[in-house]
């Protein structure tokens, strides 16, 4: 396997930057088209037009649209995301607080969906039309067709209010609030670093339900894709030859099929991970989860453009980076793609 050339990496990085710029322009334009009014939110509904106009000027909203865009991009290039109307904080401070919450939730979700989804997909393909396959198909279908919102509420009713198995909405019980100082922003990690096992278990009991619900839809997708990749491989000559030589079904799967579908799976997992970061929005609202999704939703409600743009960029960037790394992995693991890309 040849090494990936520096030029190739640079080319892909340039593509990534261009995509981010397009995303930025698009988000800004969409934001301008929205009929929201951040000024009213700040000065209050009953404010006089003079106070209203003064605040509008202070927020820079009286400038022509292209100038506003220029000011915004100029700030970004200098690492300044601007201030959020919603909180009065620099947006970067807000996002530094919100992103780890979303990241922790999405990461646990991707882990759960992978460790369950991939084996389930493999087994479903191996025992095609058998019981496991049928179960996997039903699971996948349900995961695709039921809205996360409904799932969230039902999950809370059963596991939180009914069975009392998991913690409620929010990241932690109120009486644990403020005990662990944020280091990474990931509560599970921070509580362990601080040597507070009680808080770790409490945080885990809070995250497990939203993560499982978020994971479910992704798991459905991963199972389906794994199954179809595996089925495709199972009909290949090399598998048939291996089976003819007397290699057992499990060994065929592990030794031959999995390495061959690894590249495709990486792409699927990267897409799922990106989707989970974005898709956390609804889950965050149901579970009062203080992440980027909820931050963005509230910013949208008042038309807080700095916050909306920056949150979009952060999520978009995470998505693009995941794709970038998936692409790179693809190129490294499968030399054929690298040759054609050149």
């Amino acid at each position: 396997m040849k090494e990936l050339s520096a030029a190739e990496i640079m080319r892909r990085l340039a593509q990534l930057l261009a995509s981010i710029f397009v995303l930025l322009c698009f988000t800004f334009l969409v934001g301008r088209v929205l009929p929201t009014d951040p000024v009213g939110a700040v000065v209050g509904e009953l404010a006089d037009p003079s106070a209203y106009a003064a605040m509008r000027a202070r927020l820079g909203l009286d400038l022509p649209v292209h100038e506003q865009f220029f000011v915004y991009v100029w700030g970004l290039l200098h690492g300044d995301f601007g201030k959020a109307i919603l909180t009065g904080n620099p947006v970067s401070t807000d996002l530094a607080h919100a992103f780890p919450a979303t990241f922790e939730l999405a990461t646990l979700a991707v882990v759960l969906s992978t460790v369950i989804g991939v084996p389930l997909g493999l087994l479903a393909a191996l025992f095609r039309d058998g019981l496991i396959d049928k179960i996997a198909r039903v699971v996948a279908l349900v995961g695709h067709s039921i809205p996360v919102f409904w799932f969230g509420i039902v999950g809370l009713v059963i596991f939180y209010a009914g069975l009392n198995w998991v913690g409620g909405p929010g990241r932690i019980d109120v009486f644990y609030e403020g005990i662990v100082a944020p280091k990474t922003g990931l509560l599970l990690v921070d509580s362990l670093l601080a040597g507070e096992p009680d808080i770790f278990w409490n945080a885990l009991s809070h995250i497990i339900l939203p993560a499982a619900i978020l994971a479910y839809a992704a798991m459905a997708y991963i199972t389906r894709m794994t199954r179809s990749f595996t089925l495709e491989q199972l009909s290949q000559d090399y598998v048939i030859a291996a089976r003819a030589k007397g290699v057992g079904p499990m060994r065929t799967i592990i030794g031959h099929v999995v390495p061959n579908i690894a590249v495709q799976l990486i792409t699927v997992l990267a897409i799922s991970y990106g989707g989970l970061l974005e898709g956390a929005v609804v889950t965050e609202i149901v579970f009062s989860w203080p992440g980027v999704g909820q931050y963005m939703t509230n910013a949208l409600m008042i038309g807080d453009m700095n916050a909306i743009l920056s949150a979009t960029i952060v999520v978009g960037l995470a998505f693009m980076l995941l794709n970038f790394f998936a692409d790179m992995a693809y190129a490294v693991l499968d030399p054929r793609t690298r040759e054609t890309a050149r």
Binding site: V43, A51, M55, L156, F159, W201, N202, L204, N298
Partner: protein, 528 residues
């Protein structure tokens, strides 16, 4: 395969551990009050800036005002020990109190706070402007007589009680001027600093505010009447009604105040919980744009008033949120007149529309914030008005969209809500009965009536006279006259339902009494 098996086992182990080891239902601690609510609209905790109801609820516990209103609407002392009223103004004597910083509360702090309110010139200053205060004259109206005495002159002709009720508003909170002045940036009056911090003398101080997550208040041990019973008060963001309900049922929160009518119903007869229906003195209103070619005609507005099934909507939609009432003074206020005979009368409404020249009806849009109970109210109005031939298309939006459309007169029908800043006819009617200049150029977007382009010179004059009348009996007569005039004019700002704020409390909570202006104080609250 071993690794796969390991993966599955590992995943299941995590789930099992979490499920098995999750703490059993842990009730909230005895010395902490946990309130479940939506804090999404809390954008500032600067008392001279914030006017949003949820912010008021928090601010009223961080700051004191000179005077406050009791939940049943009487003026009571807070920072003022006493006051004397004369023909030209009110003089307040301050009691011994300290800010959380340790600085004593002085007359200068009171003056600084009111001057700051007028100079910042945001929505919070509107009520003071109506009695003649301006950024230019405030320093000549409010003066420190000595270290502990403050004098307010009466600007214009407004009588002293109109001033007292305004001083009881959240925006008249007294801030620690020594502390705030250390943090002024440019001409911002310390706003950038104060909007996320507290500098008051109230029973609590701000410990933490994480937007959309949590607001924690700590007891102020130096509070003038002693530290409050609750060591902490926590406002927990739970924007989804059903989730909030579950949290309350399981004991993770002690009080919920953003529930939908359906979730409220569950607690009506449930043991262990109590429902409070806090009157606000305000209304759910149908604003009609009198600049619209149909709605400018009083006959059409009257037809609409007869085209609404108030009784059915009260029963099925408003529930604990509202009581049918079409005069903008709550039914149990002094001098309130009975509602006119506007009730669903399809034949009469159709006849009025035919008289106005629209016997085949017409179409209108109705804008509303997508929020309980207004969204359901909009749907019910749509069904009701369809019966008289008025086709209504509903346009939902978020707060800023709908409010900016209202301010810009860009609507046919719209569903705003009001509240009374003082518990009398004038306080409730203020939003409905005054529009000094209806021209578009006046651009008086802060005025509720102007937004409906409803020109009411006579009623405006009568309102101004009532506000300046010092004799309570004569003023009462004027209040009656104002309401009659309002009905006679076939209002373009039609009150539909008196507005209540329903809250559900765990019966562990004692001493919580909801305040009409959301200025609920928590220093006396205890928990079993």
């Amino acid at each position: 395969m071993a690794s796969l098996r390991g993966g599955i086992c590992g995943g299941l182990a995590v789930v099992a551990l979490a499920l098995g080891l999750a703490p059993a239902s842990a009730a909230t601690p005895k010395d902490q009050l946990v309130i479940g609510t939506s804090i999404a609209q809390v954008l500032s905790l600067d008392p001279q800036q914030a006017t949003e109801p949820k912010a008021q609820e928090i601010l009223s516990n961080l700051y004191d005002r000179l005077v406050a209103t009791t939940p049943d609407g009487k003026i009571m002392p807070q920072l003022a020990e006493s006051w004397s009223i004369d023909a030209n103004g009110v003089t307040f004597k301050l009691r011994a109190a300290t800010f959380a910083s340790g600085n004593p509360v002085m007359a200068n702090d009171v003056v600084y706070s009111i001057v700051r309110l007028m100079k910042m010139d945001q929505a919070g200053s509107v009520h003071f402007k109506r009695i003649g205060f301006t950024a230019a004259n405030v320093e000549s109206i409010v003066k420190a007589v000595d270290a502990k005495t403050v004098r307010f002159e009466l600007a214009g002709k407004a009588p002293s009680d109109l001033l007292l009720y305004r001083l009881a508003l959240g925006t008249a909170s007294v801030i620690d001027s020594v502390e705030v002045q250390k943090h002024i940036e440019g001409d911002d009056h310390g706003n950038a600093w104060l909007r996320t911090r507290s500098a008051g003398s109230g029973p609590f101080t701000l410990n933490r505010w994480s937007p959309n997550e949590i607001i924690i208040l700590d007891a102020n041990a130096k509070y003038m009447t002693g530290a409050p019973k609750m060591r902490r008060v926590i406002f927990r963001h739970a924007p989804e009604s059903q989730v909030e309900r579950l949290m309350l049922e399981r004991g993770d929160i002690d009080l919920a105040n953003a529930l939908t009518a359906a979730d409220l119903l569950i607690f009506r007869d449930k043991s262990g919980f109590a429902v409070q229906r806090v009157p606000t003195g305000g209304f759910y209103v149908l604003s009609m744009n009198a600049g619209n070619k149909y709605l400018g005609d009083p006959k059409v507005r009257e037809a609409i008033a007869y085209g609404i099934d108030y009784a059915a909507i009260e029963k099925t939609v408003m529930g604990p949120y509202g009581r049918a009432r079409t005069v903008p003074v709550p039914q149990n206020y002094e001098f309130a007149i009975p509602s006119p005979d506007w009730r669903l009368d399809v034949a009469k409404a159709k006849a009025l529309l035919a008289e106005a020249g629209y016997k085949d009806g017409f179409s209108l849009t109705l804008k509303t914030i997508a929020q309980t109970p207004r969204i359901d109210l909009a749907t019910a109005l749509q069904a009701s008005l369809a019966q008289i031939g008025v086709k209504v298309e509903i346009q939902q939006g978020n707060g800023s969209e709908i409010i900016s459309a209202h301010r810009a007169r860009n609507f046919d029908l719209l569903l705003p809500q009001t509240s009374a800043y003082m518990p009398n006819a004038l306080g409730a009617m203020d939003d409905f009965s005054s529009n000094p200049d209806n021209s578009r150029e006046a651009n008086n977007a802060g005025n509720f009536v102007w937004r409906s382009a409803w020109d009411i010179p006579e009623l405006t004059k009568l309102t101004a006279q009532a506000a300046a009348e010092p004799d309570p009996a004569k003023r009462g007569e004027m209040f009656v006259a104002m309401q009659k005039k309002f009905v006679e004019l076939k209002p373009a700002v039609l009150p539909l339902f008196e507005r209540f704020e329903p809250i559900v409390l765990s019966s562990r909570v004692k001493g919580y009494v909801g305040h009409p202006n959301m200025l609920t104080r928590l220093e006396a609250v205890t928990k079993d």
